[in-house]
Symmetry: C4
Subunit: 340 residues, 4 copies
């Protein structure tokens, strides 16, 4: 099995839901929510990709960074590279159903571990989906991170406890899910959280808590205040708010404000190892990837996921060589030029 085959199979299996375009940029699937697209005009999804593409790299070839180190410390677990799989559910209504939720999440978790990294699992209107993620993580001794939707606090805390019970590496909430129409339509209300509500949740557990869906400096500081150990700069892949700022654009100022006080992850439009390099240069510690992994899972289950991750790892390695970068700490904004 190779990547070309993975993509061909995925295209067939997701017909009507994902076209597996040459470049996954939100154009063809604009407005397809449910589905794989961005909401309304798809502008946020497209901006994530476009703005990131306007970050340019400085090619360097006279140096001694001949064998870069990609190791990434995730709360004392050492990953082979700084790419984590984003929490995703909805194989039926978003992806067409060729894989069950169980097949999907198992492919993703095992494929990630095989490649040397980990996956997050998600939550959904259908209550069984959080459970599927938990069960799949349990099978690998909790090596991954359950992410909970911004439901009522008591429901969130109950789910945090379940995460603890399987010894997950961390737990978190995708607070950017506050605007998910698909949840509301199915009687599972989600919404924004006050500082007090967040404090109650974070203090309910000893697991490192990850707050996903931070897009402003102000809220990054609030995340630190409520005790989060990591944030994910994310606009939910453009699926909750049209015409939202891109993650690439808000990342530098957020990083300037909270770098070192909290781990900074980011997602949105990351398609290659070159993009991973750019996000770290813009201020992230590591990244999440979503849609490429869906293609991997639908195109080749565990092996497909692993192939996608290895490809991106190799691209990151190559990019580090060609930019005179010996390790992740050496990736900074002196390596890039922003054309926006």
């Amino acid at each position: 099995m190779d990547l070309k085959e993975v993509r061909t199979v995925a295209r067939e299996k997701m017909k009507g839901y994902c076209r597996v375009c040459p470049v996954c940029n939100g154009v063809a699937c604009a407005g397809e929510v449910p589905g794989m697209g961005g909401s309304l005009t798809g502008s946020t999804f497209k901006s994530n990709v476009d703005d990131l593409s306007k970050v340019k790299l400085k090619l360097k070839t006279i140096h001694d960074a001949k064998n870069p180190d990609l190791k990434f410390n995730f709360f004392n677990t050492i990953l082979d590279f700084p790419i984590i799989v984003a929490p995703i559910t909805g194989t039926v209504f978003n992806m067409g159903g060729a894989l069950t939720e169980r097949e999907y999440i198992n492919s993703v978790i095992k494929g990630s571990l095989k490649a040397g990294t980990i996956a997050m699992t998600g939550d959904s209107a259908d209550l069984s989906l959080y459970e599927e993620g938990i069960n799949a993580l349990k099978n690998v001794d909790g090596k991954g991170v359950p992410i909970i939707k911004p439901r009522e606090n008591n429901h969130v805390i109950k789910n945090v406890k379940i995460a603890e019970s399987i010894n997950s590496l961390a737990v978190g909430m995708d607070i950017d899910g506050a605007g998910l129409i698909t949840m509301a339509l199915k009687g599972q209300p989600v919404g924004p959280k006050t500082v007090d509500e967040l404090k109650e949740i974070v203090s309910s557990t000893n697991l490192p808590f990850i707050l996903k869906g931070i897009m402003t400096v102000e809220e990054a500081k609030l995340a630190v205040e409520v005790g989060a150990k990591a944030i994910v700069v994310s606009n939910h892949g453009g699926r909750v708010l049209d015409h939202c700022e891109s993650t690439a654009k808000v990342l530098p100022e957020i990083s300037k404000a909270v770098k070192g006080k909290v781990m900074i992850l980011v997602d949105g439009g990351i398609r290659t190892g070159v993009d991973v390099f750019k996000m770290i240069a813009l201020g992230a510690d590591g990244v999440l990837i979503g849609r490429p992994i869906i293609v991997g899972a639908f195109g080749g289950y565990e092996e497909g996921v692993s192939l996608i991750l290895n490809k991106m790892k190799n691209e990151l390695y190559q990019t580090m060589i060609l930019t005179s970068t010996k390790d992740l700490e050496s990736i900074d904004n002196s390596k890039i030029l922003i054309e926006w």
Copy 2:
């Protein structure tokens, strides 16, 4: 009936006049006047949409604006949300004639009221069209606003008196119709107005007077001077002057000059509740929408109009939740980022 069906039916009924494109942006219909397009190259229509799309929103999810208030005070009538239907005529020559003027204006007025807002009615070379609007408003106790073309003063004043006679909520003139080729071709001359002419018109009535077609600070101030109670920042949907500035771009400076002295409405390229939010953040009090309502009326009469308005209302509500905005007064330029 759902929105997909409304759009499908509308596409069929307006064949040759409107393609009901995925995004209504003036590209496919460029130059189609009469028709649904912008004049000549369609540049003004396109700029309205493009410039508005370059206004970005700041996603916020840590806050307590969990249930925003969308109520809008329109001259002491409380509307459920700040979206009013624009004055439109010409179902035959602009839209293909599948609906009569009477069917159209009744669908629009009733659909608007059903959704919780009101409509404006228009004027045209064909004198019976103003009358159709008046009759339709009369049936709903005048809950709407007749808008008169910039004809000779005595004709305008006669029409103002007719509006008074049905107890309309306000009355106005779309002075941007000064350049309407379609009117001139049919022997109904229209043109610009001097300050004195406007004063004569405005002072002829006790109804709040709305001046539609203001695109500069200078003329916004003149509108205040002549006694207008509301202005509509509008370039007539790009149908009178090619390569005109977009309404989104001129709005902030106009708002800075006259906010609080006159109600500021705006139209041009507003397609979703996200766009409504943006226009208010750029300085408007409320907005008018035109082309989406035509699609609604042709696709489902009263119910189609109501579906379109409810969709935009829900999108505005969602946008307010995701930007930490508790009411319309809280929407300001701190919520946006302009990329032009």
Copy 3:
């Protein structure tokens, strides 16, 4: 006959040479020289249109400019509007040959006069073409302007004398033809001119001398120095040098340098009366148009040319009404906003 028919007939008659596109912008015909396109990538042709499209107009409707005056003084001949037909030859190799040179030039000259303006006639490798233009102008008592290619001085002066002999209104040289490949290939060398060579030519006649092909301030001043009475800011419609600056972009600084010392005409990408307005606002006194006239002539001979010119005249009139402009002298840069 109407404009739609003119365009349909022209499209048929110029098949393989001109597609008569919805907007004539140099995209489809890029590189087609000979033909109707711009040279190589067609970038100059495209820039002429693109840069002009980025000039925006300020819509105004509260004023008394209800009946604008479009009269244009061309060396004491009063034209009805400030649009002159550009010198064009080559109906066979550039346009496909459905019209002979004689048919073309007669259509253009008579159609222009009928509409209330005049035409220029051209010069070419084929020596008979200059003669055709002269003969056609002779039939209308010299009401037009022969334009000579930058050949050897003695040849140019001989042609100037021929222009004098038919009492043309002026005479000129399209010095931007210096790089015409088509001329060189046919054994009729053309090239740049020194100041001394130009002085010799200009001083050889009492006719007002027009220098066409000025794109820099430096050369605009030289044009004044050598005694030219008018310049045409022109890059030969993008047909001699790829990636040349657009005429719209260089016009303001040239105008600032020589306005009032010499008549400033401009061509390049002018397609509507709105574009004419813009060029005057950028600093021109009047404009030349080329490709739209070819469509007119091929689509309807004299009447087609006249229809095209009348359409542009009406558009200019309309634009003046909607920008509060009572005459050509009132068109200045306060009426526009440049977005480049």
Copy 4:
């Protein structure tokens, strides 16, 4: 044989590898490595072309530069014009194999000499390819330049000695090949070089040494420090690092830093003589061209290469006439206007 035929034949012979597009800009072939495209999204290839297209020329026609001199001094060999053919290998895996490596390199070398310039020859995972280039150069008394991949130093130095043995005009290394995936996959590792490693290589020969793949000021200065006599500002045609800066954009600052201390060549997106002019105006002494030559060789062997080069020479000549430029030294940034 003419250029149209060359392009038609090339399109046929490279089916599946190169579409011979109207403008060769990296769009259609994005990601096709091996193949003719740029790596991953093809962004670097596209930027090379796009950024260069945003450099505009100032048309001038009043002057005496009627017969420009294009002669170029390449280490005491006088070339007829400042365009050298870039080192290219891989006719089978990159171009489809209709020409053997031997046919290709002989066509290129002989076609270049016939047109009045020289070619560089390349190196590849397949060791016989360097040999093919050497043999072909030997047949023309060494009139050309072998370029070696950044292999282990001893292998590089061995290849330098081979170049010396055939009396090549110079020798060099395409250090930007450090990231070539195709090499690594075939067991021929390449990588970045330290200053010391470069010094060892450069000091091993008396031939002028050319360092190809310099994209920063810092490394341009290092190239001078290690004793290189020429640099090529190059990102390997966009084939090693996606989203790399374009060569046009980095050229001015590199030129400012080392002009006069080392010969500055540049490649990337140069398609016409107009582009050659621009690159020299941005700071280069001369240029390399790649993809256009491949089309020439596949479309017409030696004659095809010669036709392509002559076309570009004529375009450069024409451009110099139309910009008042009498020789290469007179091409500077006063001739251009940068719109990025």
